[in-house]
């Protein structure tokens, strides 16, 4: 008898819809969050970094820069908020890099999942890291005596603004993570680019105290706009213009680096 053998397995699906892709993304977000929870070093870093910055800057610089720790805390906390979150974006690049070098990405690519899900999952998972960072900075700052003097709505807007900026910056970090050979490379790059960017601003000191050429740089640095906006939104004062400029910067960074990162990622896959 020459009967056709029936296939023992169902025929595979032809394509994965958007819903499937989103489900993949959420699974990978769950993975990122789980990693934060199970990895003690990561958790410590995430929680302790803002605390360390607050303690050091407030008590070491406070007296010298503002003549008192309380008045300096009111001035510096918005800046430390920006600093903590911007440095936290380096984690995105480091994790992507680690996934590539350890072969986790190859495992994902051999699975029938949306091509963009690993990247989207990583970024979404990192948003949760940034939120933690914001919460710790504000919470511990308040324990030290920081007071939000603007309206709660305005403060909430401040938190959203810094998160939006982080969402843009993490694409830059992702691009670096996809391009360099090792996680150390991401750290070096972060040190060489992020450090001057973060500290070459009015984040911790007033612009007026700096020399002329430095002021010129500080005045065009997006970190300066973001810090000014945060000061306005958390402790009162003009916020609309610097907030708008920060958003435009965030948009610009996103428009440039997100497609670049996706392109490099696709070429790798």
């Amino acid at each position: 008898m020459t009967a056709v053998v029936a296939p023992a397995f169902p025929a595979p699906a032809r394509r994965l819809g958007l819903r499937g892709g989103l489900r993949n993304t959420f699974t990978l977000t769950w993975r990122s969050v789980l990693k934060i929870r199970t990895n003690m070093e990561d958790l410590f870093g995430l929680l302790l970094q803002p605390i360390m910055y607050l303690l050091l800057f407030t008590y070491v610089f406070g007296g010298a820069l503002a003549g008192g720790t309380h008045s300096y805390l009111q001035f510096s906390l918005p800046g430390i908020l920006v600093l903590s979150v911007v440095f936290a974006t380096l984690g995105t690049g480091m994790m992507l890099n680690q996934d590539i070098t350890t072969g986790v990405f190859d495992r994902f690519r051999s699975l029938p999942i949306a091509r963009w899900a690993p990247l989207a999952g990583a970024v979404l998972g990192d948003m949760i890291r940034y939120m933690t960072s914001v919460a710790v900075t504000l919470g511990f700052g308040m324990i030290l005596g920081f007071r939000i003097t603007a309206s709660p709505l305005s403060a909430a807007a401040g938190c959203l603004l810094v998160l939006a900026f982080a969402l843009a910056m993490c694409w830059f970090s992702a691009l670096i993570g996809l391009m360099v050979k090792s996680a150390q490379g991401v750290q070096w790059f972060g040190f060489l680019v992020m450090f001057p960017l973060v500290f070459g601003s009015n984040l911790l000191v007033k612009t007026a105290t700096m020399s002329g050429w430095l002021q010129a740089f500080v005045k065009v640095n997006p970190m300066t706009y973001l810090t000014e906006a945060e000061r306005g939104l958390l402790t009162g004062g003009p916020a609309a213009t610097p907030a708008l400029r920060s958003l435009l910067w965030a948009l610009g960074i996103f428009i440039v680096f997100a497609p670049l990162a996706v392109r490099v990622y696709r070429r790798k896959t």
């Binding site: 190859d106 495992r107 699975l111």
Partner: protein, 332 residues
Amino acid sequence: MRYDATSANAIEAAGLIKRFGKTTALAGVDLVAREGRVLGVLGPNGAGKTTAVRILATLLRPDGGQARVCGYDVLRNAYQVRQLIGLTGQYASMDEGLSGTNNLIMIGRLLGLPRAQARARAAELLGRFELTDAAARTVKTYSGGMRRRLDLAASLVGRPRVLFLDEPTTGLDPRSRTDVWAMIRGLVADGVTVLLTTQYLDEADQLAHDIVVIDRGQVIATGTPDELKARTGGQVLLVAPSDPARLGEVATLLEALAGAEVVTDAGTDVVSAPVADKALLPRVVRELDDRGIELAEFTLRKPSLDEVFFTLTGHRAEDEDTQTRELEDTSR
């Protein structure tokens, strides 16, 4: 081409070409894996085995040629192929920061299993691979053998029809190796088609129904293990005279008796000759004794991959692995 239920080949590749810069990793490779069988891809480091697997598993685009898995083109129907395959490689690995259980649950969820089912499947596989005790620990703390077993478990979450195992036992101790072999046999008994790459002749011999020997990106021999062994002379006889001065004499004698080319190692003063027929041994001993040649060593062993290569290609297998791997990394 659509999936054809009557097709007996789970993997078909024709004329696969892949270049990394100036290096040609694959120079036109053909291979076929029959449904429900084990195809052993044998070759030294850098022969192109991993590149071939990466192409077949949709991780790498070939520069030329085509390949199908269960009738689906690896380029045009990559999404379908990914639903049918499982991959365990030296590279495709687990998340170090997650527990064994969570790694498997993640893969189950990515494959679309509901939460409870993903959890059940993870527990089932961890049990099957004797990892239940370590299930809650992060993979970071696993030994090499445990990682390999978890890797294998991960590639089985989706119940693949075709399994790619890229050097599944390299670097494992003999016991773990035998364990992995037993697991592979179990999978084949369940009807899974396996493509296995290996550097070890005995591994291919133990597991594979068909063998493809690759060297420098080209297929240099295909056949069943028995066919290949017949071509390489089965075993190797090592003879070392007590007096190194008589090495040449021994070599000439062995060549005449074995009727095959022998290799003289001047460093260790040993002559090695392929032996197809064990009846040859008493004759060799007699002839050596007749000439009054005293022996320091007289050993019979299975041919190493080096010797298979020597017989098949006339040149030694060279270690090009790190070089090719680096080239692949930089061009990716």
